[in-house]
Amino acid sequence: MVPTDLRYTKDHEWVRVDGDEATIGITKYAADQLGDIVFVELPDAGRVLEARAPFGVVESVKAVSDLFAPLGGEVVEANAALAGQPELVNSEPYGAGWMIKVRVADAGDIDDLLDAAAYDALISEG
């Protein structure tokens, strides 16, 4: 069962909501599918993201994958640790492997996200 305090997208991003700030990363399922992650490209602070639009890239040894914004808002911070330690996404996908923090523009976007049960159902079908 994935962490129950998070929300999810069908593109395997997770969201931790804290007031009007959301921390975003990719799920263990996604990280396992990708394999060893060797490069992460993230937006700079100040960039405004649109819900469902690509906001960055995660690369495994063999492939490049887009990251999709679960919600809209301004990037407050990108995880600087991932530049030197992209493997944190594999080892701690919900913790030290977080990717960006965003100031949520529209709280309604959060309601559109999957809860843990719905995301678990999604990945067990796959």
Binding site: Q33, G35, D36, V38, F39, E41, V57, E59, S60, V61, K62, V64, A83, E87, G126
Partner: protein, 371 residues
């Protein structure tokens, strides 16, 4: 991850072992093959530091036999197999009449009148068909035993002691690019000191039905030394670090050996005609239009197959292979560029998602095993 549809895919004798080891299986050249077990980086490091065990049973094993087997192969390929002593091998290529490359191969001499040609899985059919045609008129026959022959490789600095435990023949007598017939764990095998990793190692050819026993014996023999199963993902990162070309990326029917930096493999001074001779002689005379180089990315980003390469704002070429190098800790790539832009030390730009990132031309290989 769901496995690809297995109904139409070939399976090696070891597929259940790969499943039991938790491998991610993919469709590779029509075969269900392990791309990774524990993870590509971990497997890569295992080979560089200890040893790795590879199932390569998808590759093609083509035996050519007869009084004119050597001459036939000299006419079919760019190298001169008759020049091989028994028990020796060389890297070779099969050319098209226009000097392009049908496949890159290793040719092993097993006897005065007996050779083994090993082809890439993706080209085994094409090479087999071409050999049948090219052997016509020579006292030589092709015995395509690809589906009857399994291939298991051990590669890494610990390979020799591991392999030695399983055979009575003294492997210190088997030099790089040598081959001998012996028993490994009691199983009749051709043991070649060849590989695709840049490390010491052995490629062992056995009857299809003996693959399981061989894999198990090697696993046991290698346990103390930390032998790890290694999939096609790490096979690719290892060969790229070692500067070895991959057919389909660096080599294909539209590239010639000279462009790929493999002109020394083409034996234009051998007697007799061979397929592609006229075209290759012309290229050797006139020069090449592009050259294959090694690149180390000096900025942030990984150069990958298909990415454009620029020189001072002028498009100079394209990346053929690229990845993050576990041994160098930097992104490495091979690319075809204009010959004038290919001197080691030249700084070019690789276009990564519309950003131009500096990359330095370096001499291959990127990695050389410690002496």
């Amino acid at each position: 991850m769901t496995e690809p549809q297995t109904r139409q895919l070939h399976e090696t004798p070891l597929v259940e072992i790969h499943r039991a080891l938790g491998a991610k299986l993919i469709d590779f050249a029509g075969w269900l093959m392990p791309v990774q077990y524990a993870g590509i980086l971990e497997e890569h490091r295992a080979v560089r530091q200890r040893a790795g065990l590879f199932d390569l049973s998808h590759m093609g094993e083509l035996f050519v036999e007869g009084p004119e087997a050597g001459a036939a192969l000299a006419a079919a390929l760019v190298t001169d197999p008759p020049s091989l002593a028994v028990g020796r091998a060389h890297y070779s290529m099969m050319a098209t009449p226009s000097g392009g490359i049908v496949d890159d191969l290793i040719v092993y001499r097993l006897g005065d009148e007996r050779f083994l040609v090993v082809a890439n899985a993706s080209n085994a059919g094409a090479v087999s068909d071409a050999l049948v045609e090219r052997l016509a008129g020579f006292k030589a026959v092709l015995d395509d035993r690809s589906l009857a022959t399994a291939l298991v490789a051990v590669q890494g600095p610990a390979s020799a002691p591991i392999a030695q435990r399983l055979t009575d023949v003294d492997l210190t007598g088997l030099r790089y690019y040598g081959i001998l017939e012996t028993n490994v764990a009691g199983i009749p095998a051709l043991v070649a000191r060849t590989g695709y990793t840049g490390e010491d190692g052995f490629e062992m050819f056995v009857e299809w039905g003996s693959a399981l026993d061989l894999w198990s014996a090697l696993t046991e023999a290698g346990r103390d030394a930390g032998l790890a199963p290694v999939g096609l993902g790490a096979r690719d990162t290892l060969r790229l670090e070692a500067g070895m070309p991959l057919y389909g990326n660096e080599l294909d029917t539209t590239t010639n050996p000279f462009e790929a930096g493999l002109g020394r493999v083409v034996k234009l001074d051998k007697a007799g005609d061979f397929v592609g001779r006229t075209a290759l002689e012309k290229i050797a005379r006139d020069g090449i239009a592009k050259r294959l180089v090694g690149l180390v990315v000096r900025g942030r980003g990984i150069a990958r197959h298909g990415y454009p390469v620029w020189a001072d704002g002028r498009r100079t070429g394209t990346v053929t292979s690229g990845t993050q190098s576990p041994s160098l800790g930097a992104p490495i790539a091979m690319a075809y560029v204009a010959p004038g832009d290919g001197e080691p030390g030249t700084i070019l730009d690789v276009e990564i998602r519309e950003q131009r990132v500096p990359a330095e031309v370096v001499a291959l290989p990127f990695y050389r095993r410690p002496a």
